[in-house]
Structure formats: structure tokens, C-alpha cells
């Protein structure tokens, strides 16, 4: 125990308890100090004990165990699961065979999640801050006190006429229905998220081009050629397992080729038929050069291009003319010969071919156009919604018509704030409210927006935000900028450390919720998350917290929360669902875990579907464009289809009802922020990368197959596999710099340039990290994974072996101690292990891409020095 901790304990005359371990035994009114602990030095491994009778283990009893369906939430992929519960204990998780996406298959994260319910370092009781914020002293309180305190502060904002001073900031919550309801009911639009740190540009590119959905479902099983621009779906893509299992079938049962562009040898790149490492952010240049070759050759789907896109072949040809393979070679380093060869191999398989993206392509300054250029390749191949092509179902979300919100439904507020709708990035909220989450703390600091009550949920901003350990923590710590911070979390996290109230959350294995994502079977579907086990002690699902607070905010708010709890709310949402083989829709969902309408045809040719008589009733057709429009339920006229060869068809959900190569929406949005953009998916050079000196490199980040960004490190079986993240350096570069694996290097990062936040090119900071020399990375790129470098989160995350904490122990009646953490954990540095890794986000700048706001994660310029 440190002197500081001892002093505090003495000062409080024994009334102060110390450490995570003390939480469980904390009585109401007692105070606790939480602080990152020190490594406990113990021998590395117990010696053998030959000829001693052992303690047999009892294998899981599947004949006795009860099976309960639910949905994983150990990443955002939304896999159906089956939990096996024996004697009240969750013993195992498997895939739900009825789930159309993953079936019986789960990844390592899905398998490992079983331990989070009984993690000995879980938060078990509501805690209220005592002393300075961030000091780590806490008093256990009752839920009634917590609800009353929150309700009083929220009510004060409503009464002051500033409901927008209440914000909810979420990570991967999957509780949008109840959070939206809560904020709408009180009149605040400030639901903040992390989409701009995740997938904004990819979604925006799909919306701008196709319009119907933000996420494609490539029909990989029937595909013959996959062109992958920066997706690591073997490890981390949203929907990874769903896509991966189909790609494996496509490749090895159907002869599909996989070509991957990625600066780093991910598992996907390392197992592709071809791996090409372009210079970071030149993916769009390569895609345009592929398109250039295809159009110059004249072998493409002329019919689709002429009929279904909003441009002509001549105009497209003129647009592509400067983007030759030779031009792209100079920027990307991919040879013109390879570009031509790949273009021809790809288009030869049309329409059974698809080009798709993820962060490697879109998390750049120019990522929005990179992705639009890639999607264009599918139009040239005529593979849009064709078997084996670039497909999408009607929706990639929970279908509202099947799961309607319980009445009365509060209307969305009309006010806006710079925090949730920053005017600098006009496309961030254009199609869905994707926000620009990475500027939230900067804008609070600049007082461009004010907050009184800040709820955080599944949010790890101090570790997962760019400049998290500096700016995010500085603002979170400041009681003037954030007067009241309520954090709901499962473990004592870095976010919780800077809260005023900590609410012990129910894990995804202990709570209700509806969930869905893109269905690769191309039909309507949704899933139900239900508790496999009850939450321990006083843990409560955050959705129920909002309902309880809503009930305490007076009649004009509480009328929207006229149900017992969130389970009731979810039951009400299922009331119109067909009951199938069960008593009602809710019972059906509880039994099967998933609603999947297998009688519905797959959504191939969705855009060619004729509009029905009912749809056409009361519509009008524009004689010039053929666009069919109609007043919607709110009385606003909106496009519903397009007349094509005298037939009224659905078309694409874009303004032109066609596949938009050129986008007026983009041109207009750019003009609003005085950016010159003609609406074509041009290649945009990244300002900070121009004339890059020889001694400057690009620092990129990545995810492991066993971790999400910030919330899996407490799970011991995952962290056992990956707990340290040395910096990847290309072997030739390392030779030149005299660096070998295991050497410590100092990396210094610089701010971006151009139309982004704080574009000064100035130094941000330096950090020391160990090197990992590899043949699997571009010579001008260094890579450090995210997900690691935790200070809190318990022994697994923080790499500490030993007793639960430096405190008075814990209550084994609630969560018993785990010999793995006391004795077997082997990555503690005190034992000679590698430790908990390194938080790279701390030295990455906030850099929202122009117009859209997506964080340009993979653009950071850096320099390096061997220490």
C-alpha cells in the first residue's frame, strides 16, 4: 500500500475503506478509496507437487443445465447466443443456431464473456463521490438516494428552460430506444455517441451513394472476387463472424478470390490471396484507378450504369480520366500493372464480385470519398443487390413496424446545440445522428456548449478517445465544465474514476434489450437480449435507471415511463410480433432469441421492386425526373420511387432515387462550410501527408481479434492472449534505424493540417514503447493496437496478480475470489510478464475529417527515436 493510501486511511480513522475489494463489504454510509494499485510481488509459478492426490474437477453438466437464448454484446456484431445455466450459475455460452447471421459460431470474445458476470472486481453498489473529483474516495449510498439526486438535477435543468444541459454519452450501448425516449421526454437533443470514432465515413458513403442502408451485406458465399479495402473482418469488422464464415465458404467451397488492401498484415491480409499495402489514405486513389481501367477497357455493366446511376458513361469517363493507374502508383506505391490486373480480374467475375471497405479505407481525412470510390466499383460490375454481389436488405436496424415504441411516444425536441450538431461537419447528422463525439470535450472546454448533468454509459473516453488521457480527463475532472457526472459501469473504469455518482450496471448477460444489424440472409430480422442470470447485489441495467429517474420527474415526463421496468418496455415493443409457436410475440422472442422472416424473399434486386398500388395511391410523378413522391404521415412530401420504362419502381433511397456516383447533397454540404467540392468522389490528398520528410512516418492503430476498443481487458481469457501491444515496425525500416524487437523507442506525434480541428502540425506528445519488428507492415507506417494500457478495470486489465485489492477484502457471499487472478495471472510486470500494454490514443490528435466529422485515426504523422 502506498504512503498516500495509508495516510488517507489513518486520517479517516478507519472509517475509510480502500480498494476495489472493499466495495462488496461496504455498508451504506461507509467511504472507500479507489486507486490503481501496486503490483504484488509473488513467486512466478508454484513448484510441482508430485505424489499428492489432486482435487478432481466436475465437468459441466449439460443434461441438467437450462438453455436460454440471448444476444452477445462483447463487440457490436450482434451474435445470437445460448447460455447454459446450471444451479443459477452461467457455465457456458454458445451460438444460437437460429440466428441467421452467426448460427452456432462465436468468436473468442463471445466465448470469453461468460466470466464477466462473476468478475470479482465488479461494482456492486451505487457510490457517491466524497472529496475532490478524481481523488477516488467514495461513499456507498442507496439507489433511492441516487435516483433522488439525479432527478433533482435533471428537474433543475428542465425548470431553468435548459433541458439541453442534460446529456447522455454512450459507447456501445444498444439501448437507443430508452435513451432516446428519456432525452425526448425531458426535451434534450444531446445524445452523444462514438460513431465518429468508429464507422461514420463508411456509413455516410453508403447513405450518399445507395441511400437505403448504412451497412452493406456482401453476398460472399456466392461471390467469386472480393476486393477488400481496409476491412479486417477476420478479426474485428462490425459483423465479423457473420461475414467471415460466409467468406470462408465462398473461398474454399466456391473458389472466390480475396484481395486485401491494408497498410498492416492483419489476419485478413495475411490470409488473403493477395495482400497490397498502399500508403495510408490512398485507398481511394487505387479504387479510382481500378474504375479508370474498367471504364477505359469498356467491360462493365453499361445497362446498370446508364439506367440506374445518376451519371452518364461519358461524364463518368471524363471524371475518371486523370485517375490513371500510373497516377495511383505514384501515390499508393501499388504498381500500375497490379492495378490493371486486379481491375480486370475483378470485373471478369461480374456481377459475382464485390468491393467493400472498413476503417483502413475510411478512417482518414479523405475516407468518405475513398469509400464512395470503392462502392462505385460495384456499380460498374452491376453487382448491386445481385447474388454474389454488393447487397443490402431493406433495413440494417430493428424494424420499427414489427417492434413499435409503446405509446405515448415523446416528440423529438426542436432545439440543437453545437455539442451534438457541430455546424463544421454538416454531414455528420445528415442521414442519422452520428455526431462528432471526439470534439465534445474540446467544445465543453471552449464553452461552446454547457452541461449540468452528464450521463456516461459504456463509455471509455479517457482510454479510447484521441487525447483521452489529456483533454478528456482534463474536462472530466473539471467540476465547472461538467458539474454532475453520472457513470453507469460494470467495473471501476477510468470513466467511473471521474464521476460523481457511480451506478453499478448489469452486464449484457443480465439484461433485456432488442438488437439487430445487417442480416446476411438479406431478410427482416431482430434479436432479443434477455438475462441469462440475474445481476448480482445491487447492479441495475442503465435502461432501468433512466426509467426510474423518468418516473421521478413530474407528470409531464413520467407519463412516458408508465411501465414497470425495461423488461416491460421490451415486452410492449414485441406486442405486434407474430406469436408463432409461442403464447405471444414476447414469448416467441424469449424462446427463440431471434425473429427471422424466412418466408420473405432475399432482397436481391430490391431497387427494381415495383411500388404497390397502396404505395402509389396519392403519389405524384415529376415529369422531368420520373421521381415519384408522396406525403408521409407527418404531411411532408418525400420521394418513394422512380418511374423506369413506364414502371413505378422503388429505386434507391437517394434524392435522385438512383445510385448516386455524383452527389448534390455532398456538394451543397461542402458549400455550407466553404469547401470547394463538386460532388464527385474525387481523391482528396491528406494535407499533413504532403511532402512528408524521410524521418516522418504515419502512426496507425488496430484492433485484435480478442479485444474490442476499450471494454474487454477485464476478461481474463482474452487478456491472457493479448495484454501487451508493442509497436509494429517494418523490418527494413527497423534495420535502417538500428531497432530490434524488444528495444524501447520514443514516438512523437504531430497535429494534422487542413480543414480539421486544431490543424497546426504542432507536436502533441511523446511516448516510450517497445518495438516489434515485422515483415507485416508498410515501411512508412508504425502500428500500435488500441484496447490496452488500462490503469483501472481490475487485475486482468491492469496486469496485477495477487489478492483482490490493497484493502480489507471482499464479500465472498456475492462474488467469490478467483485463483486465476490471485495466483495464476502471469502477465504482471512484477512477475516478469509484459504488463498491461500501452494506451496509444493518448498521443493521437483529435482530427475530424472535413464535412463528415469521422475521426481520421490512421493519418497521424509521427517521428521516432531509439532510446
Amino acid at each position: 500500500m502506498s504512503k498516500q493510501l495509508q495516510a488517507l486511511e489513518v486520517n479517516r480513522r478507519g472509517a475509510l475503506k480502500v480498494g476495489i475489494g472493499a466495495l462488496a463489504s461496504l455498508a451504506v454510509g461507509e467511504t472507500i478509496l479507489l486507486h490503481p494499485g501496486e503490483a504484488a510481488a509473488q513467486p512466478a509459478r508454484p513448484p510441482r507437487r508430485p505424489n499428492v492426490r489432486g482435487t478432481p474437477k466436475v465437468p459441466h453438466n449439460y443434461k441438467r443445465a437450462r438453455k436460454i437464448t440471448s444476444v452477445c454484446l462483447n463487440c457490436s456484431t450482434v451474435c445470437g447466443i445460448v447460455g447454459y445455466v446450471d444451479n443459477g450459475k452461467l457455465i457456458k455460452i454458445g451460438g444460437n443456431p437460429e440466428d441467421p447471421n452467426n448460427g452456432k459460431m462465436l468468436c473468442a470474445k463471445g466465448q470469453a464473456g461468460v466470466v464477466i458476470s462473476t468478475y470479482p472486481e465488479r461494482l456492486l453498489y451505487p457510490l457517491k463521490r466524497v472529496g475532490r473529483r478524481g481523488q477516488g474516495t467514495w461513499r456507498r449510498i442507496t439507489w433511492e438516494e441516487a435516483y433522488a439526486d439525479i432527478a433533482k438535477r435533471v428537474r433543475a435543468c428542465i425548470d431553468a428552460g435548459h433541458p439541453e444541459h442534460v446529456a447522455i454519452h454512450i459507447g456501445r450501448s444498444r439501448l437507443a430506444d430508452i435513451m432516446g425516449r428519456f432525452l425526448n421526454a425531458i426535451g434534450s437533443p444531446v445524445l452523444l455517441n462514438h460513431r465518429a470514432l468508429c464507422s461514420l465515413n463508411k456509413r455516410a458513403a453508403n447513405y450518399a451513394t445507395i441511400g437505403d442502408v448504412d451497412w452493406e451485406s456482401v453476398d460472399a458465399e456466392r461471390c467469386k472476387y472480393l476486393l477488400n479495402f481496409g476491412s479486417n473482418f477476420y478479426e474485428a469488422h462490425q459483423g465479423a463472424i457473420h461475414f467471415l464464415k460466409r467468406v470462408i465458404k465462398g473461398r474454399y467451397d466456391n473458389g472466390c478470390k480475396l484481395v486485401t488492401f491494408d497498410v498492416r498484415l492483419s489476419n485478413t491480409a495475411g490470409r488473403s490471396d493477395e495482400w497490397h499495402a498502399p500508403f495510408p489514405g490512398t485507398e481511394g486513389a487505387v479504387a479510382l484507378a481500378l474504375a479508370n481501367t474498367i471504364v477505359a477497357d469498356g467491360n462493365f455493366d453499361r445497362d446498370f450504369m446508364t439506367t440506374w446511376t445518376n451519371t452518364t458513361v461519358d461524364a463518368l469517363s471524363a471524371f475518371l480520366k486523370p485517375y490513371t493507374p500510373e497516377w495511383a502508383e505514384k501515390l499508393s506505391g501499388i504498381s500500375a500493372g497490379d492495378i490493371r490486373r486486379i481491375a480486370r480480374a475483378f470485373i471478369r467475375e461480374r456481377p459475382r464480385c464485390a468491393a467493400f471497405t472498413n476503417r483502413g479505407s475510411h478512417a482518414h481525412y479523405n475516407g468518405f470519398n475513398n469509400d464512395r470510390a470503392v462502392i462505385l466499383l460495384n456499380a460498374l460490375a452491376g453487382s448491386i443487390n445481385q447474388p454474389g454481389g454488393y447487397c443490402y436488405a431493406e433495413s440494417a436496424e430493428i424494424p420499427d413496424h414489427l417492434f413499435p415504441m409503446p405509446a405515448p411516444v415523446p416528440a423529438a425536441p426542436k432545439i440543437r446545440t453545437d455539442l451534438e450538431d457541430p455546424p463544421e461537419w454538416p454531414l455528420a447528422n445528415r442521414w442519422q445522428k452520428m455526431r462528432v463525439g471526439q470534439i465534445v470535450y474540446a467544445y465543453l472546454k471552449q464553452k461552446r456548449a454547457r452541461l449540468q448533468v452528464y450521463f456516461t454509459y459504456t463509455l471509455a473516453s479517457p482510454t479510447t478517445w484521441p487525447e483521452g488521457r489529456s483533454l478528456a480527463v482534463e474536462v472530466l475532472r473539471d467540476e465547472k465544465l461538467i458539474p454532475f457526472h453520472v457513470c453507469s459501469d460494470v467495473v471501476y473504469s477510468e470513466t467511473a474514476h471521474y464521476a460523481d455518482l457511480i451506478l453499478p450496471d448489469a452486464t449484457y448477460l443480465e439484461r433485456w434489450g432488442l438488437d439487430a444489424r445487417n442480416n446476411y440472409e438479406l431478410r427482416t430480422y431482430a434479436t432479443l437480449r434477455q438475462p441469462l442470470v440475474p445481476p448480482p447485489a445491487e447492479c441495475v441495467n442503465f435502461a432501468d435507471v433512466l426509467i426510474q429517474v423518468g418516473k421521478r420527474l413530474g407528470p409531464e415526463v413520467s407519463r412516458y415511463f408508465d411501465f414497470r421496468n425495461y423488461e416491460d418496455f421490451v415486452r410492449l415493443r414485441c406486442r405486434q410480433l407474430p406469436k408463432g409457436d409461442s403464447a405471444d410475440g414476447f414469448a416467441y422472442m424469449k424462446r427463440h432469441g431471434v425473429y427471422h422472416n424466412t418466408s420473405e424473399p432475399r432482397s436481391y434486386d430490391l431497387f427494381k421492386r415495383p411500388l404497390t398500388k397502396a404505395q402509389l395511391d396519392g403519389s405524384r410523378t415529376d415529369p422531368q425526373t420520373g421521381i415519384i413522391s408522396k406525403r408521409n404521415a407527418r404531411g411532408v412530401e418525400e420521394a418513394i420511387g422512380i418511374t423506369m420504362n413506364a414502371q413505378a419502381l422503388r429505386g434507391f433511397k437517394t434524392p435522385s432515387r438512383k445510385f448516386e456516383v455524383h452527389s448534390q447533397t455532398v456538394a451543397q454540404a461542402a458549400a455550407r462550410v466553404k469547401i470547394d467540392d463538386d460532388g464527385w468522389p474525387h481523391y482528396v490528398p491528406i494535407p499533413a501527408h504532403q511532402n512528408l520528410p524521410e524521418d516522418r512516418f504515419i502512426l496507425t492503430t488496430f484492433k485484435w481479434n480478442v479485444h474490442t476498443q476499450g471494454r474487454t481487458a477485464p476478461q481474463k481469457y482474452l487478456t491472457e492472449i493479448v495484454h501487451d501491444n508493442p509497436m509494429w515496425i517494418n523490418a527494413a525500416t527497423a534495420r535502417r534505424l538500428g531497432i530490434r524487437t524488444g528495444d524501447t523507442v520514443e514516438v512523437t506525434t504531430y497535429r494534422p493540417r487542413g480543414r480539421t480541428f486544431d490543424p497546426t502540425g504542432q507536436r502533441i506528445g511523446s511516448a516510450r514503447i517497445r518495438a516489434f519488428v515485422t515483415e507485416g507492415i508498410h515501411p512508412r507506417v508504425f502500428a500500435v493496437s488500441n484496447s490496452l494500457g488500462h490503469l483501472f478495470g481490475g487485475r486482468s486489465a491492469a496486469a496485477r496478480r495477487g489478492p483482490r485489492a490493497e484493502g480489507p477484502g471482499f464479500d465472498p457471499k456475492i462474488l467469490s475470489e478467483d485463483a486465476d487472478l490471485t495466483t495464476n495471472l502471469w502477465w504482471s510486470q512484477a512477475d516478469g510478464g509484459k504488463g498491461a500494454g500501452f494506451n496509444v490514443n493518448a498521443i493521437l490528435p483529435i482530427q475530424p475529417a472535413p464535412i463528415t466529422g469521422m475521426q481520421a485515426w490512421f493519418d497521424t504523422v509521427c517521428s521516432i527515436r531509439k532510446v
Partner: protein, 222 residues
């Protein structure tokens, strides 16, 4: 009596570790020990680099070195072809761990019992597949009853018989688990004896073919 067998079709492996983690949860395997482990190797020079994976389980050897090494006769091979450790006869001696050419056995530090893959025998009894087989996203792990010509393993063997090989045939243990698409050098990643060293971090071994913590036979824990 079924005759169980397994094959691993390596081209379908994505190195995802789902098998390894599913196994740990299923069989309550303590940290620092593995019944199922996935090795990585990066082959070739940039930009012609590719990544190879090698998932390793107990090979259920017909002439098992572990069985021969056990002084307590705690290890036996059943008529179902599964090699099992009798928890009541084991005395934590560790000779089996040292003898295994595949690093497939560990001694549980709390229970003081040797433990290894037994194809999730308790799941087989409940009519289920082994945990790794069920969860594998690529369909890499093929399993079933050799007596049943329709079982996945029988069909796989019938289709790919000539492409199948075993790990370290020179050990003459007659391993029953087979591989398709094995790059021979990868065998060197698989340590003899203990399969885990707390001072070796797997990621840092991707560029090498050596098992960085090979222990001599009969060696003891530090």
C-alpha cells in the same frame, strides 16, 4: 462404440482463438495453461508476407508418450480412441507433460492434476460437439465418428485422404489428429513438454519458427 477422430483444415483457420477460449471456459483451464492453443507464423519478406496459423490440441496418439511416461498408470486410451487422464489416479507428477511432443498437457496448479483435451468427453456424452468444433467460425475443425460414414470426419477423410498429414511423425507417437494444408516448418512452433511460458509473449514469436521455451525432457518447473 464410436471411434472419434478429428482433422484440422488449416486453410479455413483465421487464427481467431475462439477454439482456445471456448476450451478454457468449457474445461475450466487455469490461466497460464492451455488444452487448445493457436500458433502464428509470418512467412516471407514484405510485401510478399503471409500469415500461417496452427491450432494444436491433444493428438490422441495411438502410441501415446504421455501414457507410457505416467508412473501411476493414470492415462489410458479408450475404445473410442480418446486418450484420457484418470483424475483419481493422477498424482500431479508431471511426467506426462514433459513427455508430450505437442505441448498438449499441463498440470493444474490448484488441483494438482494433469489435464488435456479429451474431445470434451462430457459434451459428447450429452450429445454435443466438442466446444472448439461447435464455435469455430471457419469450420476448420472437423470431428466425428469414424464408424459413421456420414459423419463430417468420415466425409472429410474420404474427400481429402491424400492431403492429410500429422504433426511430428518422427516422434512415432502415431497421432490420430490430422491436418490438411500443413506447412511442415510450422511444427517447430509446437513445443515439446510445457506449452506455455509466462515470460514468452506469443505475439513476439510470430516472426520466428522456434518454440522459444522448449524444455529438455524430464526438466522441472522453476
Amino acid at each position: 462404440m464410436p471411434r472419434y477422430a478429428m482433422a484440422l483444415d488449416l486453410e479455413r483457420c483465421t487464427g481467431c482463438h475462439a477454439c482456445s477460449v471456448a476450451c478454457k471456459v468449457e474445461n475450466q483451464v487455469p490461466l497460464g495453461n492451455f488444452r487448445t492453443k493457436v500458433y502464428y507464423y509470418d512467412e516471407g519478406r514484405f510485401p510478399q508476407t503471409r500469415r500461417l496459423f496452427l491450432p494444436v490440441v491433444c493428438m490422441q496418439c495411438a502410441d501415446a508418450p504421455c501414457l507410457r511416461a505416467c508412473p501411476n498408470k493414470a492415462i489410458s486410451r479408450g475404445n473410442d480412441l480418446i486418450v484420457r487422464i484418470d483424475q483419481n489416479a493422477c498424482r500431479g507428477n508431471g511426467a506426462c507433460e514433459d513427455a508430450c511432443p505437442y505441448g498438449a498437457i499441463y498440470v493444474d496448479p490448484q488441483r494438482n492434476l494433469a489435464d488435456k483435451c479429451d474431445f470434451c468427453s462430457h459434451r459428447l456424452e450429452a450429445g454435443m460437439e466438442p466446444a472448439c468444433v461447435e464455435t469455430c467460425p471457419g469450420g476448420t475443425i472437423i470431428f466425428g465418428d469414424l464408424n459413421d460414414p456420414k459423419s463430417p470426419i468420415s466425409q472429410f477423410q474420404a474427400t481429402h485422404r491424400r492431403e492429410l498429414t500429422v504433426l511430428k511423425p518422427e516422434e512415432k507417437a502415431d497421432p490420430q489428429v490430422q491436418y490438411r494444408g500443413l506447412t511442415r516448418e510450422l511444427e517447430r512452433k509446437v513445443p515439446k513438454g510445457r506449452n506455455h511460458d509466462p515470460r514468452s509473449y506469443e505475439i513476439e514469436t510470430w516472426a520466428t519458427l522456434e518454440a522459444s521455451f522448449d524444455r529438455p525432457e524430464g526438466g522441472s518447473h522453476e
